[in-house]
């Protein structure tokens, strides 16, 4: 009988019509500005620069190695290395980026900069409402706008950040142990040297 399939289809739409009033899985719309989905940990929007401590300039992890600039597929990162050095979190003097610009209108959120960064200095943000009326100024993020604290990083990607922090802490501990060992070795050597120089005073003095 012609019309059977049509009636079946109409029954289906009617079921959906009434179902949408009673079943949550039939009406999945999220009323966006008022309601929001719970944040997704793996989400990524655009990169930002992580800093430790309070002062973003002091604590910036980036050492301007320019690897991300080279690896960035759409070439949206622009870095200028500083002339001088500043101490990093471990107290080791490092270069820092004098300029660090990301053009987020070019950036395609691929996360490759994050993967290639050996210093865990650049990470992906989750903020998406970055629209701006100014194509060039508003979407070209400079160093200051890119810098976000480690606490912020921990708050948006807790699992990942914990792993990174553990890795960095281990690294720091290793460095410290190494430094300590070096210092001990140095002091031991000094002591030995001193002992030697004391024992053989007649030779004395470097030639």
């Amino acid at each position: 009988m012609v019309g059977e399939g049509i009636l079946k289809g109409m029954a289906e739409t009617a079921r959906n019509f009434f179902g949408s009033y009673f079943r949550k899985d039939r009406l999945t719309t999220v009323q966006y500005p008022e309601q929001r989905d719970p944040p997704i940990e793996a989400a990524r929007s655009f990169p930002f620069l992580v800093y430790d401590g309070e002062d973003w300039q002091q604590g910036m992890r980036c050492v301007a190695c320019q690897i991300c600039e080279k690896e960035c597929p759409p070439k949206c990162i622009f870095i200028e290395k500083s002339k001088d050095k500043k101490p990093d979190a471990n107290g080791k003097p490092q270069f820092f980026p004098a300029t660090f610009n990301i053009d987020i209108s070019v950036c395609m959120s691929c996360q490759i900069c994050v993967e290639v960064c050996p210093f865990d200095a650049i990470k992906m943000d989750v903020v998406t409402d970055l629209s701006s009326g100014d194509r060039f100024g508003g979407l070209l993020l400079d160093r200051q706008r890119l810098a976000k604290s480690d606490q912020y990083y921990n708050s948006i990607h807790p699992t990942e950040a914990a792993a990174v922090d553990a890795r960095l802490a281990a690294e720091r501990a290793r460095q410290e142990a190494k430094a300590k060992a070096a210092a001990e070795a140095k002091s031991a050597a000094d002591a030995k040297l001193a002992a030697v120089t004391q024992a053989q005073p007649e030779i004395g003095g470097p030639r």
């Binding site: 012609v2 399939g5 289809g9 009617a14 959906n16 009033y21 009406l27 999945t28």
Partner: protein
């Protein structure tokens, strides 16, 4: 009891009485004219409001069928959405193609709206609520209805756009083809009522046996006529699944591709008003016009019933739109000429037989058979010719 009945009657006639009261101080010579103007204004306001409500209802209903909310930002439940849409279309730029025939291009939407409103002149919206009781009312209605085809073709031709032209050609072919079954389907009612006057057709249906009304839809030929009329009315008002003239996935927007801003809105208005008018005619012819569905509900004002029936039909239109894909041109024509037309002709015969047979279950049996058998045979014929079926599939080894 009589007091309540009187109240109900007054409520029923409140608009008629109000108009009388308003015009009673005017000189007698001016009264008919002013009465007409008042009624026309009322019709325009009421149905334009109904248009706004329908657009909201349609978007809401489609939304729910598609598991989304529909408009819900402007006003409570998005009720002010039609106003926002109106303001938007008023403030939009009105673009007329350089090569278009400006005068005709401008006139087409105006004519469409005017023609679609004119049909309401003969529709009895309530008891004693009809603008003019023409004794050729049904004839007038269909004559006015064919003016809409002219407007559509004017729009398509004057735009000088290929898509508009394709749309206009489709519209003409479709509307003319479906006018035949539309009229033939309504003739059965005229045969039975013996009158072309819409008022007497409704009056005839507004009586009851027990609690059941004498609507024509509750007879075999009336039911078949109603279904045929509704299918043809869907096609006449270019509604899905017969929305080929404006099939947006094929020919952009058909004949109003080159319209924008308020003229575009006028086309929408015209189409919806046309849909109300044909639905109103279906109600008048088959669903007893303003009469109540049960005898114990006659105290509800008559115009309420009319609009309730109208909204019910509109809801079905929306439901169909939310479900069905569009037909193709040749299929549309096949349906009109190979199913609708023979069916309508058979139906004429059935209605005649009904008239001459004595009332009783035998009459029911004979006439029902005469409706069902051709319907099955004709649809079998449609199906057989196409050989379409649900297929079974095999899998690779």
């Amino acid at each position: 009891m009589t007091h309540l009945a009187l109240l109900a009657q007054q409520l029923d006639q409140i608009f008629v009485l109000a108009a009388h009261w308003l015009l009673s101080d005017l000189p007698a010579a001016l009264q008919p004219l002013c009465s007409a103007i008042l009624s026309v204004a009322a019709i325009i306001i009421v149905f334009a409001t109904l248009f706004a409500i329908t657009t909201w209802l349609e978007r809401k209903g489609l939304g729910r069928m598609q598991n989304r909310y529909g408009p819900n930002r402007v006003g409570p439940f998005g009720l002010l959405q039609p106003i926002a849409d109106g303001v938007k279309s008023l403030t939009k730029e009105d673009i007329v193609p350089i090569t278009a025939d400006h005068a005709v291009h401008f006139l087409a939407p105006v004519l469409l709206v005017a023609a679609s409103f004119m049909g309401f002149a003969v529709l009895p919206i309530g008891r004693n609520m009809v603008l003019v009781n023409l004794n050729a009312g049904v004839l007038y209605f269909f004559a006015i209805g064919s003016m809409m085809e002219l407007a559509v073709f004017m729009a398509g031709w004057s735009s000088r756009s290929k898509y508009s032209l394709l749309g206009a050609m489709r519209a003409i072919a479709q509307m003319i083809s479906y006018e035949v079954p539309l009229v033939l389907a309504s003739i059965v009612v005229i045969m039975q009522a013996g009158s072309l006057s819409t008022v007497s057709i409704v009056d005839l249906q507004a009586s009851y046996t027990g609690i059941w009304p004498h609507w024509f839809v509750f007879t075999p030929w009336g039911f078949a006529g109603f279904i045929l009329f509704m299918i043809a009315a869907t096609a006449e008002s270019n509604r899905s699944p017969f929305d080929l003239p404006e099939g947006e996935s094929e020919i952009i927007a058909g004949y109003y591709t080159e319209y924008s801003g308020f003229k575009f809105a006028l086309f929408f208005l015209g189409e919806y008003i046309g849909m109300f008018a044909t639905s109103g005619m279906a109600i008048t012819l088959f669903l007893g016009g303003w009469s109540a569905p049960f005898s114990f509900l006659t105290w509800v004002p008559s115009y309420v019933w009319f609009f309730a029936k109208l909204l019910a039909i509109i809801s079905v239109f929306i439901w169909i739109r939310g479900t069905l894909p569009r037909l193709r041109m040749d299929q549309l024509m096949n349906l009109a000429w190979e199913f609708m037309l023979p069916m309508a002709l058979f139906n004429l015969f059935t209605a005649g037989l009904w008239h001459f047979l004595a009332a009783g279950s035998l009459r029911w049996l004979v006439c029902s058979t005469m409706v069902v058998v051709p319907c099955i045979l004709l649809s079998r014929g449609l199906k057989h010719k196409k050989k379409f079926q649900v297929r079974t599939y095999h899998y690779s080894q």
